[in-house]
């Protein structure tokens, strides 16, 4: 059964179409993998087994008639931020207690229309606010990757029956796994962990400041945040509306391309959905990058960045150069202001979006003597610490007397950040290569980060610029650090040029290979 869960989406697609395997079989394989692993990894908060079996049965009927869609019979995990009709949808917050929408988000509706099977809802940081998946009401997600060290191990002498030796003993060098539990990154930590641990073939995710790309980098998976306006935001719980975008997390570049093709659409229900046909992203994979101009922004070399990240970046540059790309040094001078500007814009939008959780129309209600008291008590009990912190910041920066100093200033800086990118793209740069994160995955309950919220925010230092400018960005695994943890590189493209990202990421993947955690769970 486990081989079925190790198939990529493109492999499973071929076997399903060729009737070598059935949707029912692959779905069962995933459901039993989830049953075994989830008590340890906590990637799923709800498993929709019955629904998955029904959907798989319908897929098998379609496949039998040769009428299967682009994702027919492919089992996927869905981040809890996506509204799924009749199924638990809480953005992993207590304030949405018991909420089951009467509608389906456009992105998930697109996936079901293409034949995908829903395995369940995935854990995430509450309202997508976090970089470690530790702010979830349902507890932290565990990264299937663990640190390891090379050590000499003594091989015991073992023998079988009548003196037939299996091992003659001696010593060998092996990687010893550390027991410390690591975060999968966030906010799409459940998505990244589930994809990496073979608990779904692929997953939906969302990215407001790095929430697809950072967890992908922490788990050795591929994650793409498309251009703002490429995927409809309709039916997705809103965090910061001018930054939020949905995208997939997948095991390889091709799978990410397949998933994005189905997720993206033009949607009249989202006024920011851009009226452009969705291209065949898969067709971009394998195209040569000879002559492509790759920009290397000097501002992404930050203080305190581990040597290994710099080395990985250099390796990425070398791979693309070897493939015939032209490497050019570029400058994006306002890079360092992206994160502070984000921590004004995103909380401001969040404070407005989250005003709707008032205990009246859905979710949690804490009874109280009058209506204001009810609002205040409901919101105090329903929101976690990080969410409250951001609502407070947002409310403060939008409050009378501070709007110009904070919000307006941040939106002006945001225009400068966007202009930096426009300038380099106008100069002929096709794609920008940067590290995806300033470090590898860190430990659950890291004391430094718990003590200082800004330390946690710094995780998004390389990814947040892309959201501020509305550009597409992909994180692709590029190697392991000395402790055996995956590290990723990021490619940033022109608006709506996701094809170049897939094309270039595939070259990195070809050179670096793909990475799987050693199974301990």
């Amino acid at each position: 059964m486990s081989e079925l869960t190790h198939l990529t989406i493109s492999q499973a697609r071929a076997k399903l179409r060729g009737k070598e395997i059935s949707a029912a079989e692959i779905t069962e394989a995933y459901l039993s993998a989830i049953e075994r692993a989830n008590p340890v990894l906590n990637a799923y908060i709800v498993v929709t087994g019955d629904k998955a079996r029904d959907m798989a049965k319908a897929s098998d009927a379609k496949l039998a008639k040769g009428e299967g869609g682009a994702l027919e019979g492919i089992p996927l995990g869905i981040k809890d931020l996506f509204g799924t009709e009749g199924v638990h949808t809480q953005a992993c917050s207590h304030v949405l207690d018991g909420f089951k929408p009467r509608y389906e988000s456009t992105v998930t509706a697109n996936l079901w229309a293409d034949g995908a099977v829903m395995l369940g809802k995935l854990n995430m940081d509450e309202f997508a606010m976090g970089s470690s998946n530790e702010t979830s009401y349902y507890g932290p997600v565990v990264n299937p990757w663990r640190r390891s060290r090379l050590d000499t191990v003594v091989m015991p002498t073992t023998h079988q029956g009548d003196g037939g030796f299996v091992s003659a003993g001696g010593t060998k060098t092996a990687r010893i796994l550390d027991n410390a539990q690591l975060v999968p990154g966030g906010s799409s930590g459940g998505s990244a962990s589930a994809v990496s641990a073979f608990l779904c073939a692929g997953a939906t995710a969302t990215d407001t400041g790095g929430s697809i790309r950072q967890p992908a980098a922490f788990t050795g998976t591929v994650g793409i945040k498309p251009t703002y306006g490429r995927c409809s935001r309709w039916g997705i719980v809103a965090f910061a509306s001018s930054l939020d975008q949905a995208g997939p997390i997948a095991r390889d570049v091709r799978d990410a391309a397949i998933l994005l093709k189905s997720m993206a659409s033009v949607d009249a229900k989202d006024t920011t959905s851009v009226d452009r046909p969705v291209p065949d992203y898969e067709a971009a994979i394998g195209k040569p990058i000879k002559g492509m101009k790759v920009g290397i922004p000097r501002e992404y070399r930050v203080d305190g960045m581990p040597e290994e990240i710099e080395a990985l970046w250099q390796k990425g540059i070398a791979w693309l150069k070897d493939a015939g790309a032209e490497i050019v040094d570029i400058s994006l001078p306002h890079t360092k202001y992206a994160l502070p500007a984000y921590y004004i814009v995103a909380p401001a939008e969040a404070s407005s979006n989250l005003a709707r959780y008032d205990g009246v129309r859905y979710g949690l209600r804490v009874p109280a003597k009058d209506i204001v008291d009810m609002y205040e008590k409901t919101r105090a009990a329903g929101f976690g610490r990080e969410v409250k912190r951001r609502i407070m910041i947002g409310t403060y920066v939008l409050s009378a007397g501070y709007y110009d100093a904070y919000y307006l200033q941040a939106q002006k800086v945001r225009n400068l950040i966007k202009r930096d990118f426009e300038t380099v793209f106008a100069a002929g740069v096709d794609v920008i290569l940067t590290p995806a994160t300033p470090s590898a995955a860190f430990g659950i309950a890291d004391e430094d980060m718990a003590a200082d919220p800004v330390k946690m925010y710094l995780n998004d230092i390389f990814t947040v610029t892309v959201n501020m400018a509305g550009l597409p960005g992909i994180a692709v695994p590029a190697g392991l650090d000395a402790k055996g943890l995956p590290l990723g590189l990021q490619l940033i493209g022109r608006p709506f040029d996701e094809e170049t990202l897939f094309q270039t990421a595939a070259v990195i993947e070809q050179a670096a290979g793909t990475f799987q955690p050693e199974k301990w769970w």
């Binding site: 306006g229 500007a341 409250k388 912190r389 002006k412």
Partner: protein
């Protein structure tokens, strides 16, 4: 700029979040850390720069002013904590 305990309590009131004395004190420290971090934006010269209103240069799509949806009262109140005959129930607002 930094916030004091009174400001934090006022902002919590504006945000409709009940905070204990202890919460407010902790938040004061956290908020000041974040506000200290965003302070660096003041060093950016933004003269002549317009504030961003949209990341993609596009005209807002407008729908025709016609009824396309409705008659879903039961769906709309389905998730409410307290309802009566398709109305949301709340504590008494007017005496």
């Amino acid at each position: 700029m930094s916030v004091d305990l009174q400001t934090v309590k006022r902002v919590a009131r504006l945000a409709r979040i009940a905070v204990s004395e202890e919460d407010a004190e902790r938040m004061t420290g956290e908020l000041n850390t974040i506000l200290g971090f965003v302070e660096q934006l003041n060093e950016v010269d933004v003269s002549g720069v317009e504030p961003m209103t949209s990341v993609t240069p596009m005209e807002m799509k407008k729908r025709e002013d016609i009824v396309t949806d409705g008659n879903k009262a039961a769906d709309i109140v389905a998730n409410a904590p307290a309802t009566e005959e398709n109305f949301f129930l709340v504590p008494k607002v007017v005496e």
